[in-house]
Amino acid sequence: MPKFEPVLLANVGKPNSHTLKVYEGQGGYRALKKVLAESTPSGFLEAVKSTNLRGRGGAGFPTGLKWSFLPKDHLGPIYMCINADESEPGTFNNRILMEEDPHQILEGVILSCFATRATTAYIYIRYEYPLSYDRMHSAIDECYAAGYLGKKILGRDFSLDIFMHRGAAAYICGEETGLIESLEGKRAWPRIKPPFPAVEGVFHKPTVVNNIETVCCVTQIAARGVEWFKSIGVPSDPKNPRDPGSYGPKLYCLSGHVNKPGCYEAPLGITCRQLIDEFGGGVWKGRKAKAAIPGGISMGLLTEAEFDTPLDFSGPGKVGCLGLGTAAVVVLDETVSIVDFLHNSCRFFAHESCGQCTPCREGTAWSLSMLERIKAGRGRLRDLDLLLEIGDTIGIMPGTTICGLADGAAWPIKNAIRKFRAEFEGYIKRTNPRGYMMTDAVEALPVVGAH
């Protein structure tokens, strides 16, 4: 295979890559001009649909299919929401795109709105990205001045406004209906679906929610074509007619115990081991890896023996992980206590559960309480089964919650305990030699809070 040249990251690292002048100098907005001159909204929508582009935000739903769920001949307005509430632990590719190449994003937003006939787009950005916010803001101003935004864009009967909307440090706003509720000025409680946003989204109007990296893929599809996109990645499984495949380039975020953490672009389907060795310069300090998060902490854990798993949309699921998620790989070296890992994970989800569904609110809080007690030397073997009971019963998959946050909380619990049970049992026996066999009810330790 010829060496893969980065496309999504092609401009990143160049001087003033965030400015319109540099972006246009690299051929930017040529694709937009071409599509607006030569295509129709439905024609471009069909082209994107035919690439089988899957959303890069975590769920991997086919983007063109999502767009096609919008009602036909709707009187409007139709809204586009761009999800830049990137908060999944380990994930930072949207930040890099927004800081270094905001116009690639905006070109994709404009193209996506052209295809979906959306007339207003909101970019929902997390508060913790001040530089991204400033860069996106400036880029939007440049677009208005250049006639890429506003009324009658490039002379076509197509008008679009893009507004930035800042969140306030809540992970749940990355869930698409939580984002919509937050945008409307309410608590970011995810909605029961249906109706799906395409039918009734923000302000009761048809809405599409797409991730930042997804719209960058739209830009590249417009510039390079459907065939180019489908020449990269992993084709659909011929034995599974419902598999849309894993086509296109992907941004992999690599962090944790590697020599060179960073955001790297590779064809979908690179293995976890290739990513760590070829891009990350191997595990740091000459140590061995113990495990890795395959795609943000919600996806669970790969053991070192599972590192040859391809990181495409169906790879991690085959070894018991939740999925590809955000493709953020976090490497844990051999010195990491798996108890500490799970405590960190449970603490995150207990803090970020929005509290709407009881199984998630209580399940995440109690799993943290149990991990706190285990770490304090008062764990019992029975706690592992209690934790697994939580892990197996909270989430969309067992059908007990509205959104997938609880599935994300459950997977690290299930993977860590099922894949590293001996280590948990050893830890509990060693730290609680007199009480590890107890099974009666015990009081929770107070959890140290903040905020």
Partner: protein, 171 residues
């Protein structure tokens, strides 16, 4: 209401009203309005909640309902001149983020969420700041401080104490 009785200044009201044309409902301006007030006062007291409600045509309880969801807006007293968020999520924790948070809190004499007695610094823990390539990291005002060590954390505290805080454009 006379200007003197209001907590929202004319400038804040104008800044909030500038958001109105962007959204089809006034309620959607809730978060922008909270940010406008919080950026200027460093907190959003209940009086401001009432006045935001009046501007947006909402009951104070509707604004407070949204505000209280986020855990981001302080209401009892302003946060410090610099608000520093130290990441404790997995990528930073694997590279010593929690030790940096402990160290900063210990030296500054506060617990996470608290403000130093001189009012200069509030230290908070953060969940993933999305800068895992620079772990462990901290967001201080608008500045992302990367690859923190105890030494660079000490330098940061010294800068804050001198008043040359990291609220600027440095990244």
């Amino acid at each position: 209401m006379a200007t003197a009785d209001r907590i929202l200044t004319d400038e804040m009201i104008a800044a909030i009203e500038a958001y109105f044309p962007r959204y089809p409902t006034r309620q959607a301006v809730t978060l922008p309005a909270l940010h406008v007030v919080n950026e200027r006062l460093r907190y959003v007291p209940l009086e401001a909640v009432v006045e935001i409600g009046e501007l947006l045509g909402l009951a104070p309880a509707e604004v407070q309902d949204t505000l209280s969801f986020y855990g981001f807006f302080k209401q009892d007293k302003p946060h410090g001149e610099t608000r520093a968020w130290v990441c404790r999520s997995i990528s930073c924790a694997l590279r010593g983020g929690e030790e940096i948070l402990d160290h900063l809190c210990h030296v500054a004499g506060v617990r996470p969420g608290q403000t130093t007695a001189d009012g200069k610094l509030t230290i908070e823990f953060a969940e993933c700041l999305g800068a895992c390539d620079y772990a462990p990291c901290m967001l201080a005002g608008k500045a992302l401080l990367k690859n923190l060590t105890k030494e660079s954390a000490d330098e940061f505290l010294a800068e804050v104490k001198r008043g040359a805080s990291a609220n600027g454009k440095k990244s």
